[in-house]
Symmetry: C2
């Protein structure tokens, strides 16, 4: 373990992850159980979690030993997407029909269950002496992600969600799995406890900043590159960082207008998006959100600076890529 060890570059890690996922074989019986797993994994995505796992392990040791954990984490992540899509009745995921649309809800429930078990089967292939700590962190994280999803769903029917609760929710739903990906890689690579925990903290702040950036781009993003429809959160009154703070900081007239748009069921979609966006800008939510993103980004970088026994340059690259995206 030394600072001179050269970690996998992002490009190298991406090539390895591509190979690893191309080699997985889901062509097993009963096909109807495993085909949906292959389908959702083949939708792709950035594979950011297994990348973090591989890179962290390469910073301290032999990255090939973290391969199975990386696979398990990505399968777990896709399991959450699969079941969340049922709960949200979402028709589209990454530009393609969701599993419950291609097959049916029962298939999506059962194949999702099988994915969660498969995720554990890959995690369980971690070398014996690291298994208990990796397994504990994985389970703790998995249950937190469920808790995050529960809070997210419960916020839909609440009108009194505050910023602290929102940050707690996105921490559970998004940040902890990014953080666990990195920490599990670090544990397998051989990092000491302090550095493994500091990498965890780094990724928590990175995850919070990343989710707030997503909230920001949902309002102010470039429609040609964002991937999702701009204003989607506004249309469904989603209690994001933006909306929670807008309600809190609006003056009487702005508040009246905001509440009008939140309350009516029949509206012109573009008119609602434009009006609420204008209110956000008047109230100064765009700058407030940018400042909060910066705050978390700085906290992330402070954590990274505490890493003394490994080369953190690749993680810096990834953080900048994730947070400076325009879409």
């Amino acid at each position: 373990m030394n600072k001179n060890k050269i970690p996998l570059s992002l490009a190298e890690a991406q090539i390895e992850i591509e190979k690893i996922f191309a080699e997985l074989n889901w062509n097993i019986e009963p096909k109807h159980l495993y085909a949906p797993i292959e389908y959702i994994l083949d939708l792709g995505g950035k594979r950011i979690r297994p990348l973090l796992c591989l890179i962290a392990s390469s910073m301290y040791g032999d990255w090939t030993e973290s391969k199975n954990a990386a696979i398990g984490i990505e399968i777990f992540h896709n399991f959450t997407l699969l079941h969340d899509d049922i709960m949200d009745k979402a028709p589209i995921r990454r530009g393609k029909a969701t599993v419950h649309e291609v097959w049916d809800e029962n298939t999506a429930i059962l194949s999702g269950d099988a994915m969660l078990i498969k995720a554990y089967q890959f995690i369980a292939q971690t070398k014996k002496e690291k298994l208990p700590s990796v397994l504990d962190l994985f389970s703790q994280t998995a249950i937190e992600v469920c808790e995050g999803q529960e809070y997210d769903m419960s916020f839909e029917t609440r009108n009194d969600v505050n910023e602290q609760e929102y940050i707690h929710m996105i921490r559970l739903k998004t940040a902890v799995l990014l953080a666990a990906s990195l920490k599990i890689g670090a544990i397998i690579g051989g990092a000491n406890d302090d550095e493994a925990n500091e990498l965890y903290n780094f990724a928590i702040y990175l995850g919070l900043a990343f989710q707030l950036k997503d909230d920001f781009l949902d309002v102010y993003g470039n429609p040609e590159t964002f991937g999702k429809r701009i204003g989607g959160d506004i249309l469904c009154n989603k209690k994001t960082y933006m909306l929670i703070n807008a309600i809190k900081l609006a003056n009487a007239e702005q508040k009246k207008q905001l509440e009008y748009w939140l309350s009516i069921d029949n509206f012109d979609e573009n008119e609602k998006i434009n009006s609420v966006t204008k209110l956000y800008s008047e109230i100064g939510i765009d700058n407030l959100c940018k400042e909060k993103i910066n705050e978390y980004q700085n906290l992330a970088m402070q954590s990274l600076k505490k890493i003394k026994n490994a080369d953190t340059s690749v993680l810096e690259t990834i953080a900048n890529k994730l947070l400076n995206r325009k879409s």
Copy 2:
């Protein structure tokens, strides 16, 4: 490890299991995620799987070391019931409303997911040197139970299910978890591989016999003690051991009558149950099923006889209790 070690009696194990489950605390946040878990676990049931786990470990060593695995197995079993009830749109479980009826489907999906993770958290508390083998067997079993549920669902829309496929399905859906419960207990207690495997085989045969007995009682059981409605399988054309063999062994006239009852949508329920039951008896399905149950029961007892290093008397008692039940 010696034959003179006195295992927990069934009554002792039942008292311990009661205590263990009474001590679990689900009063944690977010309540909406954990309350359904407490609800389904409080519905009770025979707790046969954790009992088998505790008893097997007490046959070879210190049963208290298998407590967490026993809890994990029972939580896993109840997770499968919770998600199966969604898939079957079942309104009632053990005489009470199912979780998706008391709450809603999304809650049932998410709390089920959390149960599966919680099950792993208890399994993971197995002592370090036994953890890899216990974890592998648990995951392998869990995925097989999902495969069994998939086959069970796919049989509903197939008309060509044969006996071999049916036995394979009930092996996966019912027998493997009983077998894993016993084997995990034995592993933790310190049984050697041969004896752990023989106990696994014993419970596989016991599980098959138990499920066939269930099929039999669904037709020929005592309505006052069976717990479910007699004839339920007949009403929904379930491809049980009874129906599969009735179709195969019926003469031309009997086959015509069977197919009539399978094909019509509007019928008097009692008339259908009585007519099909009469056909089963004419074809001799009652005796055929009894013979098959005996065959598996004998195979189970042969496996048990191969156990040389432990006292198997409690397992014999349990086998007789499960298979000689009249309801």
